[in-house]
């Protein structure tokens, strides 16, 4: 059974946010109105999170692309009163929109703030609707949505592999954000396969996981820039 995971090399990331737009376009994430955006209600599933530190001229800025980390012990699923979210055997933290009642307990429980709530009916002004991806359903108003690691691509890749009568190979299934990264800073694959690139990279001494001390066991690993060090770097 594969355990899908991601590695993001912060040294190579250029902070361009191609991953953000790629995700929105792939997953039919609507753009909210400017006013809603000003209230922090942009729906994107992966964000570039900046943090400015220091004073001029000794300023530094950390920039991290953060999708849902698909924790192995996700706090968000524990609080759902209706079982609308859960951990799949392959490690996806999934959201079932039809079951979601929009209580937003999960958005509060997620320590990474990686869940977003649809306050309004999704709007695709003009002909934007034409560009919607038929593989991904558009979420209705009143549900919580989140990164799926482009799960629909896995289904498709499996189908294609089965049709070609071969096993799923590394690189057959890659989420949109990883696929498009111009600097090649994002990697994706099966963490259970010790020979996979992601498994190899996550064993690197530069590897760390965000807020690991919370015991969430994220499956998105970061490779530090060099200046990133701290609690989360403790080797198991």
């Amino acid at each position: 059974m594969p355990r899908w995971g991601m590695v993001i090399d912060l040294a190579k990331c250029t902070a361009c946010q191609a991953c953000v737009v790629a995700c929105e376009s792939e997953n039919n994430v609507p753009c909210v109105s400017p006013e809603e955006a000003g209230r922090g209600r942009i729906l994107s599933w992966i964000n570039l999170l900046p943090e400015v530190e220091g004073e001029y001229p000794r300023v530094s800025m950390r920039l991290m692309p953060v999708p849902c980390l698909h924790c192995d012990s996700p706090p968000c699923i524990l609080v759902c009163p209706v079982g609308a979210t859960g951990l799949s055997p392959e490690g996806f933290v999934r959201q079932t929109f039809a079951r979601c009642i929009g209580c937003r307990y999960c958005t509060n429980a997620c320590p990474y703030t990686r869940r977003v709530f649809n306050w309004y009916r999704p709007e695709f002004p003009g002909e934007f609707q034409q560009a919607l991806n038929p593989d991904v359903s558009v979420r209705p108003k009143g549900v919580v949505e989140k990164c799926t690691l482009c799960h629909h691509r896995l289904l498709k890749a499996r189908e294609e592999a089965r049709a070609a009568n071969r096993p799923l190979a590394e690189g057959d299934y890659v989420p949109a954000c990883v696929e498009v990264c111009p600097a090649g800073a994002m990697y994706f694959g099966d963490l259970n396969d010790p020979a996979s690139t992601v498994a190899e990279l996550s064993r690197s001494p530069r590897s760390f996981r965000l807020l690991e001390e919370l015991g969430t066991k994220p499956k998105v690993n970061y490779l530090s820039e060099g200046e990133w060090s701290g609690e989360e770097r403790k080797e198991a």
Partner: protein, 805 residues
């Protein structure tokens, strides 16, 4: 620097300036009911047969290769093409937003005629026949009246097959006025002309660079070919590749490029030249420069004596006497030990390259500063070497004879007596129009350009265009300049049309991309090339004979014949093929995948294009075409030109006969006028690189991510400066320059220099898309000032005051 993230920090980090969504006040049961009620509102996405088709990105001049996913007649996904030599499968956020261009609700839907006045236009939809015959009849009448030269065409600064088509049209028609928008590379291009004597586009072999000094070049924010630069960046830091390229960003603002650099050096604004010469000082005094290169390939390093026996100051003397380390530290505000360390690193790591000065994809720096920076490349021997500064290889296209059309000796309207350098000076056009000198302008044709919005003297453009009897604009969206036109000719967007692109800015290799339409043209739009060819046919005679092509496709096919005849290069392919072709070509062998021009054409359509993967370094005769056939620290080209311009020295601010006129030196910085204490420096951010993209929601959402500023302009101001002015984060403030005033939200930013404020470009449209109108256009505030050498707009020197509104 060690950093620990705890939960509180993380939340601050994730939520940024925006307020978290409130969660109180809604009961669970209520929501559940709400949800059920909404189920019927679900958006149903239609299916259909799926295809992946090659195309080209049209959102910036880099024109990355795309693969587009179509479902039936709809395009639903844009992705990078792994075959494309510039992007190699990657794509920047702008390119990914391309679908919002295609399906934009505010696109032009039909040809429009202004039936109102220039000042208050009223638009009426007309047929294409009417539109084309209006333009063609006007052009025929002007030509018949001997006024062909009074027709002006304004285009983007690309050198591609399209530009050749238009130039050919104009030449046959009889107008010298093919004018282009400025490019961010204009200053360095001027320096390359003055110091190397060449006009070919300059390029950087970034992937092979070991040490990079960037003087305020926004490398990761849209400069050059964004994906190519980002890919190079990824490779510099690829642990598997072994060594890491050090990349130092020297600029006043802590930009996103600075944030991602290995080191940021905070520079006093406008002192790039002094900084570069300070580094040169250390290289020279410590003997860290490439002495053999300087001896064999440069001119004007040592003092020298001319034919008349007069001794001239050399670069060494200038640097040693005027740019001593401690003096430069005072001029630039950079500690002497930092300059010393950077210079040593620069001198000890090869290939080491310096880029600059201060430039974005549209805003150039200052020619003297660019010469100073480029001189570092000569000192490190990085000219035409792997990992160094190279000249973009040219496409092997046949230069066809163009039949002369009447009197062809009319001067171009952008060539002014004061400036005569490569790169064009579109900014000078309004003066020519208004003064009717050297001749009046009867018609202006615009192709995908918007000078009223994008140039610092946009307002002057607006005024001058009021005087032009006929204006037509090819564009996909209404814009500030097109709104002054008599006719607006709607163009299909990239995915709907035949596209073509040559080597992108600063990319070393010769590239020609071609892509057929992915989906049918939407609305009543038509390819500008088809219109141009139709007009040529209507005009007949020499013009018709010069452009005997049925349509754009036929023209492109014709040009591919030239490429085939060159018997070199290869169709876009995998990285393996690319490496292989390089190996084979370097040894003198050519292994094409095609044997006829038709095969080449088919393969180009399928793979996206054709390119020369090999660059031949060190071909010195090609690299240095100056009077001395060497790189010239002391530009004899400039000296010769200036010898007939007695007012040149005064314009530069030096005495006539001063050797510094022709040597790189620090130009005087602009003093703040009384009452305007802060310096306004416009910035470009990647999502709106080139000042374009504000009409796309995807890009508006991420443009100011470092401050969580979305959907509007922001004024970056240092927290201490803001405190003194009583300004808090998020306050509405007025920014006022002697030229104008704008209201904008202030954002406190530790990366802004205390005496400097910044406004992003690309906001504040007054025409076109509903979304592009948000924010303010800093161009309206900027001083109109041009450098005395090449006449390039100097946009970074406007002083303003900022106060709470």
């Amino acid at each position: 620097m060690s950093f620990e993230i705890n939960r509180r920090d993380y939340l601050r980090f994730a939520a940024g300036g925006a307020l978290g969504a409130a969660t109180s006040g809604v009961s669970l049961r209520g929501l559940s009911r709400l949800n059920a009620a909404l189920a019927s509102e679900e958006v149903i996405v239609p299916g259909g047969p799926e295809n992946w088709v090659p195309s080209l990105c049209s959102l910036c001049p880099a024109a990355c290769g795309l693969r587009v996913r179509t479902i039936g007649p709809r395009a639903v996904r844009i992705q990078g093409s792994s075959f494309h030599p510039v992007s190699h499968g990657g794509l920047c956020p702008k390119g990914l937003a391309g679908l919002q261009v295609v399906y934009h609700p505010d696109r032009l839907r039909a040809p429009l005629r202004n039936v109102g006045s220039r000042k208050s236009p009223r638009w009426r939809e007309i047929s294409w026949e009417e539109a084309i015959s209006t333009v063609a009849a006007r052009l025929r009448r002007l030509r018949g009246a001997g006024q062909a030269h009074q027709v002006v065409w304004i285009d983007r600064p690309e050198r591609n097959l399209w530009s050749r088509l238009v130039r050919r049209f104009l030449a046959a028609y009889g107008s010298p006025n093919y004018l282009t928008m400025p490019s961010g590379l204009d200053a360095i291009q001027t320096a390359v002309y003055l110091q190397q004597g060449v006009t070919q586009p300059v390029a950087y072999d970034l992937e092979g660079t070991r040490y990079l000094l960037s003087f305020g070049v926004n490398l990761l924010e849209g400069w050059g070919s964004p994906t190519a630069v980002m890919r190079a960046f990824g490779r510099w830091r690829d642990a598997a590749a072994g060594r890491r390229t050090k990349f130092v960003q020297i600029e006043p603002r802590f930009s996103m490029t600075a944030a991602r650099a290995d080191e940021w050096v905070a520079l006093r604004p406008g002192t790039d030249a002094a900084m570069a010469l300070g580094i040169a000082y250390v290289l020279i005094t410590e003997g860290l420069y490439d002495a053999a290169f300087v001896r064999d390939h440069t001119f004007g390093f040592e003092d020298w004596r001319d034919a008349a026996g007069r001794t001239h100051m050399g670069f060494r003397s200038l640097v040693l006497s005027e740019y001593r380390l401690n003096d430069v530290a005072v001029m630039t505000g950079v500690p002497a030990e930092t300059i010393l360390r950077l210079a040593r690193e620069f001198g000890q790591n090869r290939p080491a390259v310096a880029v600059g000065d201060h430039q974005t994809s549209t805003l150039p720096g200052h020619p003297y500063a660019a010469m100073a920076v480029h001189s570092l490349n000569a000192l490190s021997g990085s000219l035409d070497t792997p990992g160094g500064v190279v000249l973009q290889a040219e496409l092997p296209l046949k230069e066809e004879e163009i039949p002369p059309a009447g009197k062809n000796s009319w001067p171009r309207l952008d060539e002014t007596p004061e400036h005569h350098f490569p790169g064009h000076h579109l900014a000078r056009l309004p003066r020519a129009i208004l003064s009717r000198k050297p001749y009046p302008v009867e018609a202006v044709l615009l192709h995908d350009v918007n000078p009223v919005f994008s140039l610092p003297n946009g307002e002057v453009f607006r005024q001058s265009f009021q005087e032009v009897p006929f204006i037509a604009s090819f564009t996909s969206f209404m814009d500030e300049t097109s709104s002054l036109a008599d006719l607006v000719l709607p163009a299909p967007t990239g995915l709907e049309r035949w596209q073509e692109a040559a080597s992108p800015p600063a990319f070393p290799y010769a590239v020609e991309s071609i892509s057929p339409p992915v989906i049918a043209a939407r609305h009543r739009t038509r390819h500008p090339g088809d219109i141009l060819l139709e007009i040529a046919k209507f005009l007949g005679g020499q013009v018709g004979a010069a452009l005997p092509f049925e349509n754009v496709e036929a023209y492109l096919r014709h040009r591919v014949g030239d490429l085939f005849a060159a018997q070199t290069c290869s169709v876009y392919s995998t990285r393996l093929d690319e490496a292989w072709n390089r190996l084979v070509e370097r040894s003198g062998w050519w292994a094409p995948t095609y044997s006829t021009a038709d095969e080449l054409w088919e393969q180009m359509k399928e793979r996206g294009g054709w390119w020369e993967p090999t660059y031949y370094y060190g071909e010195w005769e090609r690299t240095a075409r100056t009077p001395s056939r060497r790189f010239e620290f002391y530009s004899q080209t400039l000296a010769r030109w200036a010898s007939s311009r007695p007012d040149f020295a005064r314009a530069v601010g030096l005495e006539p006969g001063d050797d510094r006129l022709f040597l790189p030196h620090q130009p005087p910085t602009v003093e703040a006028p009384p009452g305007y204490p802060l310096l306004l420096m416009p910035i470009e951010v990647l999502p709106l690189a080139g000042g374009e993209g504000g009409h796309l929601p995807y890009l508006q959402q991420i443009a100011g991510q470092h401050l969580f500023a979305t959907w509007e302009s922001w004024l970056e101001i240092h927290p201490e400066t803001a405190r003194k002015l009583g300004i808090r984060d998020g306050d509405r403030v007025s920014v006022e320059s002697p030229r104008g005033r704008a209201q904008v939200r202030a954002r406190l930013y530790a990366g802004a220099r205390p005496e400097v404020v910044h406004l992003p470009l690309g906001y504040g449209h007054t025409e076109g898309s509903r979304w592009g109108r948000r924010g303010v256009n800093p161009m309206a505030l900027l001083d109109e000032r041009y450098d005395p050498v090449a006449g390039l707009a100097q946009t970074s020197g406007t002083h303003v005051k900022v106060y709470r509104s």
